[in-house]
């Protein structure tokens, strides 16, 4: 076969959205293992060759990007990566959905202590979130989940790339176990009486 790494590079160059491994396998006809090797090779070549582009994994796919150190020049060309320009309220709600998905409107409101309809609409419009399954509870309310655009916009491969809750706890400086379920009277206690 013609140089697989070259083919992969061409495919990635041709696209302005992430291409999944499955799509690459389909387009190249290569085996998954070969493809992974090519992707690793390409990553290394771009790195070692000190090229101005790099290969990243975002939103469950592969995509070429320019290196951040070149961004000032690109910006001068008048190109700016669109920012979601989310309000504090929208960011908070987005964080809650990202960590607690699938989550209903009522559950999100419970955490924020505020009515969330407007913010949810904004997030849906910006395509940061989408409707999930209905929750099998009273009224069968819709749940909300983050979208693929959310991952791409924030440069995440998967949701696992989000900062871990424990790290946040450390940053906030509270490790008192307040979140550990409080011990309520157990059956043992009742039996003793």
């Amino acid at each position: 076969m013609k140089d697989l790494t070259g083919i992969v590079e061409a495919l990635l160059f041709s696209s302005n959205v992430p291409i999944s491994t499955t799509e690459l396998v389909k387009a190249t006809g290569a085996k998954d293992a070969e493809l992974q090797e090519s992707l690793a090779d390409l990553t290394r070549e771009l790195e070692e060759g000190k090229r101005s582009v790099l290969l990243r994994q975002v939103a469950g796919g592969w995509q070429l990007f320019t290196r951040p150190e070149y961004s000032p020049w690109i910006a001068r060309l008048g190109k700016v990566r669109p920012q979601a320009r989310l309000s504090q309220a929208a960011l908070e709600t987005l964080a809650i959905i990202a960590y607690r998905q699938p989550i209903t409107k009522a559950e999100a409101e419970g955490i924020r202590g505020v009515e969330c309809s407007g913010v949810l609409r904004t997030l849906l419009e910006r395509r940061m979130i989408e409707m999930g399954e209905r929750k099998e509870t009273v009224g069968r309310p819709f749940t909300y989940v983050t979208s693929t655009e959310f991952l791409a916009h924030f440069g995440l491969r998967t949701l696992a790339d989000l900062p871990r809750m424990e790290e946040v706890e450390m940053l906030v400086g509270r490790d008192d176990g307040l979140f550990v379920e409080q011990k309520v009277g157990t059956e043992g206690d009742v039996a003793e009486e």
């Binding site: 990566r81 920012q83 320009r85 309220a89 990202a98 202590g113 906030v172």
Partner: protein, 237 residues
């Protein structure tokens, strides 16, 4: 007119009561696990009042929180059970604290997410459209920062430089002269109530009476009354 033309500010997306509480707790530099509930409740209500005065749309959530705070405050005032009964009895504040801590974490996560977006902006994918101008991003200011600034400004305005303005005290000589003038000008009697203006203080009225007594003693005037408890008229003697 003044009322109708007042500024009316509506903020469709507001920060909520938990945000306000955290703001107040941080401002007071107190421990979140030991919130001085009376103090914080007072400040919370003060802010809600200011928001109402500014005609900001105060969401019902704020009033719910205000009610919760007052409930906790009242529970805190109840006599504490003895130590052996203490077990199993929760601090009335614990549910609120749990809620605040959870919310605080998501506020932090929201910052992280924002930071991730900023970092991500340095990587350019292919095919971005050229945008004519970049919009200015302003520094983050919350509604409460704004209200805090307003409160500060108001308190500065109201901080009075205490200058003592002495009340003009009516003097007996002046009062006597005034009565003489009135009698000379009118040539007829007048009600003594004419001698003090609306808002006269007790001292003024006493001075008027002393003046009348003095003039009466001097034989310059006579005092008449049509009936018991009726208005008193002053006439030239």
């Amino acid at each position: 007119m003044a009322v109708e033309n007042q500024y009316r500010v509506t903020l469709p997306i507001y920060e909520g009561p938990l945000d306000l509480l955290l703001f107040l707790i941080r401002k007071a530099e107190v421990d979140i696990y030991d919130i001085p509930i009376a103090k914080i409740t007072g400040e919370f209500l003060e802010y809600v009042t200011i928001m109402e005065k500014m005609q900001l749309e105060v969401a019902g959530d704020f009033f719910v929180m205000a009610a919760t705070l007052m409930l906790i405050k009242s529970q805190m005032l109840l006599p504490k059970p003895s130590t052996d009964e203490l077990e199993g009895i929760e601090d009335p504040r614990s549910e609120l604290i749990r809620q605040l801590l959870e919310y605080e974490r998501f506020q932090k996560l929201a910052e992280d997410i924002k930071q991730m977006e900023e970092n991500e902006a340095g990587y350019y994918p292919r095919g971005l459209e050229q945008t004519p101008e970049e919009q200015t991003t302003l520094a983050k200011t919350t509604l409460f920062d704004l209200i805090a600034a307003l409160k500060q400004a108001i308190s500065e305005i109201e901080k009075p430089e205490f200058a003592t303005i002495d009340r003009e005290v009516m003097r007996i000589e002046d009062c006597i002269n005034r009565i003489r003038t009135i009698i000379a000008e009118r040539g007829e009697g007048f009600f003594i109530s004419e001698l003090w203006e609306a808002g006269a203080v007790r001292g003024d009225i006493i001075i008027v009476f002393i003046s009348i007594l003095e003039l009466w003693r001097l034989g310059e005037i006579t005092v008449r009354q049509a009936r018991s408890f009726g208005p008193i008229t002053v006439v030239a003697a």
